[in-house]
């Protein structure tokens, strides 16, 4: 059923607060969460006998081997049984009854307990319904398995269960912190396309607007331009005071990007400017807007739900030609992890985006492939829709991440020798 535009809230009623679904997981089960954080459904597979196992465990139940490796699954399965909960001892589910669950036999072998999408038909007679299994992060930030119908149906994303597992911008209010760059403008267009109800767009030093492209999105019906300078605590606090209580998704794309390492530029003023926006700016924004989002994380169908940090793949491994920029993004990444932990209790999803070089003026001299602003924006919105929390958009980001995950020390050498 398509999502109806929510009615205006009665302002004198108490705002419902979040109760999280059960979040405890054993360490081995966190492998499911680590994969779901990047949008993948993975299960353990035994290296020796090839069995796919679930629930996650330390040894293969078929051959007792301890060599279990996480492998991506295609999710094809059959729904053996279904139920609708009308009672739960857990507050999260109690508040969202009735809630559908299913028992699925994955073609790959194991039996799974899953959340059922509303469009999944209950099994009839002896014939199990075919389903597609995916892994999503629930409001507690832990992976759960969900069953989707084999074929998409209209308004799939509007399913109440799926909306709890995602941060779909549809009918939500979004803040994009910097509309003065091509990336900011691309984000605004993409959010408008995704059905956001309202898009606040920040801009600093508006007297520099000429040639920035801000005017190309200023006229969109969802857009309101507002002054926002992340280097100025009062500016951030003032904006939070004005709109913070209404923002559902914060997208922090404000950044300063220069192409200097240590020796190419004397003095610390450039590095300080990068840190002032990329790190301290993110800190000011998080302090000012975090509490308001947290307070509205269970506020109806268009609740506050997500915080997007535009980082860089250089946050994982320093790119020496843009060395101080890389360091500022590494600082921002560490802070974003802190933010993710702090907002976890409120059920707010912190989405960290690690693009490779963007096709903009600061990467003019880098060879392709470079990421077009529109492609970055599309990846951000997709991540919000699919409930992904760590995004590596584009070829360079994807490859750097795989190399980093394989061996960060080897990557460090490759970059230093110009190999990457």
């Amino acid at each position: 059923m398509p999502l109806l535009k929510p009615r205006r809230k009665n302002p004198v009623l108490r705002t419902r607060q979040i109760n999280l679904p059960p979040s405890a997981r054993s360490r081995v089960a966190l492998g499911l969460t680590a994969a779901a954080a990047m949008g993948r459904f993975e299960l353990q597979q035994c290296v020796d006998c090839k069995s796919v196992v679930y629930p996650p465990r330390e040894a293969c139940p078929r051959c007792a081997s301890s060599r279990l490796r996480w492998r991506e699954q295609d999710g094809a399965g059959a729904l053996l049984a279904g139920t609708t909960l009308h009672h739960s001892n857990d507050l999260f589910f109690r508040e969202r009854l009735p809630w559908r669950l299913g028992l699925v036999k994955l073609d790959a072998g194991p039996t799974l307990m899953v959340h059922l999408h509303g469009a999944v038909v209950a099994p009839q007679d002896r014939v199990p319904a075919r389903v597609h299994i995916a892994a999503r992060l629930d409001r507690a930030g832990q992976a759960v398995l969900i069953a989707l119908p084999e074929k998409d149906s209209p308004n799939m994303a509007d399913d109440p269960m799926l909306r709890e597992m995602s941060s779909d911008p549809k009918q939500r209010k979004v803040l994009v912190t910097d509309g003065m760059t091509p990336v900011g403008q691309a984000l605004v267009r993409e959010f408008a396309r995704a059905g956001a109800e309202l898009i606040w767009v920040g801009h600093a030093q508006p007297w520099k607007q000429h040639g920035s492209g801000l005017e190309t999105i200023a006229g969109l019906p969802q857009v309101t331009l507002l002054p926002l300078d992340l280097t100025d605590g009062r500016s951030v606090q003032a904006l939070a005071g004005e709109i913070g209580a209404k923002v559902d998704i914060v997208v922090n794309n404000a950044e300063v990007h220069r192409g200097f390492g240590i020796s190419a530029r004397r003095g610390t003023d450039v590095a300080k400017l990068e840190m002032e926006v990329n790190y301290f700016g993110a800190l000011r924004l998080a302090q000012a807007f975090g509490p308001a989002l947290a307070g509205r994380s269970a506020d109806g169908a268009a609740n506050a739900c997500a915080w997007v940090n535009l980082l860089s793949i250089y946050a994982l491994a320093n790119f020496p030609p843009h060395g101080t920029y890389s360091a500022s993004k590494a600082a921002a990444h560490s802070l974003a992890q802190c933010q993710r932990a702090e907002l976890r209790g409120a059920g707010i999803r912190v989405v960290n985006v690690f693009p490779g070089p963007i096709d903009d003026e600061w990467n003019q001299n880098l060879p392709p492939p470079k990421l077009a602003p529109a492609a970055l924006a599309a990846a951000v919105v997709k991540a919000l829709r699919d409930g992904i929390e760590d995004v590596y958009p584009g070829d360079v980001a994807h490859e750097w991440f795989e190399r980093w995950r394989d061996d960060p020390k080897v990557l460090e050498r490759e970059i230093a020798a110009g190999g990457a």
């Binding site: 059960p22 053996l80 049984a81 139920t83 609708t84 857990d90 036999k105 009839q124 007679d125």
Partner: protein, 388 residues
């Protein structure tokens, strides 16, 4: 190698500590009450219990060992059996071998749990690793969803209807009212059963047991010892247990009893048709039906027809859960695994008062427990026979 029989092993002194919905006492209190009642009913001193088994979910941080010091016992044989609904059967099997080997003379088998307002909820999150990782996050709040799946699947594949399950519940309620040990005050009608509010479809209110506080206990000793003490007793005729059976069944369709039932009946030199009553484990009515199939009372898939063809009241064609079972009395945690055992002992020693199965000589007690993921892992059964 053929299994050794249970010749000469007796069970005696069935004790039930009355169930209450909630209690401020700890599990140790209920276990202590049970041990005290064992002494009163048997005339023995607790020092004469030189073997002890303990089963409980709310004893933490203690296990059986803590109970020895807590209650002032010094057994030379001890077993902690934390397997819920299967703990009664498993306690009997272990105690029997200890007695046969002379490792213990008189084993007190005790099960009990308290129930605070948050006991059930607290237990759920840490029941098992697989529950914590793969079912608890889905909100079912316990085994309801798991057994809803099993019930849903069974209904579609075997043609069982809600009325079939209702019949089982109604007959058990009838037994409960006759025996006087029940939370309910009047008979359950089919209309009331069908109209009850849904819990996790297709399970409704009367398909689910109510958690409560209480305890059950009995003694295991040699038949000779029982005779010497002048204690009314039953003889252990056969016992089986199995864990994680049919692991490849994608949903529970077969229970582990199926793997070992032939051995059970061979040990007892009797068949299903010889049972004068059966105490099935009734956490949900679907499992009662599965036990009828997998303990050989009927073929797989014929459970519905079997249920429709019988009456399960204490005076019916196949008395089942003759004191009402957990569905009527409530589930006092691990004591739910002992409830059928103590009732069976009473039935076979003439202590069943107003609900005695006429001429009962042989009875089967079934155990089932420990939902760690998507089914109970433990199955077991004993056959008890009257001693005279």
């Amino acid at each position: 190698m053929a299994r050794r029989g249970y010749d000469g092993v007796a069970l005696a002194v069935p004790v039930t500590v009355p169930y209450t919905r909630y209690s401020i006492r700890g599990a140790h209190w209920f276990l202590g009450q049970a041990v005290h009642e064992l002494c009163v009913a048997s005339g023995l001193r607790k020092e004469q219990f030189d073997g002890l088994t303990v089963s409980s979910f709310t004893l933490a941080p203690d296990t059986a060992v803590g109970v020895t010091q807590h209650l002032g016992l010094s057994p030379r044989w001890l077993d902690h059996i934390p397997t819920g609904g299967a703990s009664g059967v498993m306690a009997v099997r272990r105690a029997a071998r200890a007695v046969q080997a002379g490792d213990a003379d008189i084993v007190a088998c005790v099960a009990g749990d308290t129930n605070h307002v948050d006991s059930f909820r607290q237990m759920l999150g840490s029941f098992s690793q697989f529950a914590r990782d793969a079912t608890h996050p889905y909100g079912s709040g316990g085994p309801n969803a798991v057994f809803a799946f099993i019930t849903d699947h069974t209904m579609r594949t075997s043609g069982a209807t809600r009325e079939d399950f209702g019949r089982l519940c109604m007959d058990q309620r009838h037994n409960a009212l006759a025996s006087g040990g029940t939370l309910f005050k009047r008979a359950l009608t089919m209309d009331e059963y069908l109209a009850a509010r849904p819990i996790a479809t297709p399970l409704h209110l009367f398909d689910c047991v109510m958690p409560c506080a209480g305890a059950e206990a009995f003694l295991v000793m040699s038949a000779q010892r029982a005779r010497d003490l002048g204690l009314p007793h039953v003889l252990l005729r056969g016992a089986i247990e199995r864990h994680n059976a049919y692991a490849d069944d994608p949903v529970m369709m077969r229970g582990g009893w199926r793997m070992d039932r032939d051995e059970l009946y061979a040990m007892a030199d009797a068949g299903p048709g010889d049972m004068d009553f059966v105490q099935t484990y009734d956490d949900y009515p679907v499992i009662v039906m599965v036990q009828f199939e997998d303990l050989g009372f009927c073929e797989k898939g014929e459970g519905p027809a079997f249920v429709r063809a019988h009456r399960f009241t204490w005076d019916g064609s196949l008395p089942n859960n003759t004191s009402g079972g957990q569905l009527s009395a409530g589930q006092a945690g691990a004591a739910g695994g002992f409830l059928g055992m103590t009732e069976a002992i009473r039935q076979l020693t003439g202590q069943a008062a107003d609900h005695s199965v006429p001429g009962a000589r042989l009875g089967l007690v079934s155990g089932y427990g420990m939902v760690t993921y998507d089914r109970c892992l433990c199955t077991g059964a004993v056959i008890l026979g009257a001693s005279q």
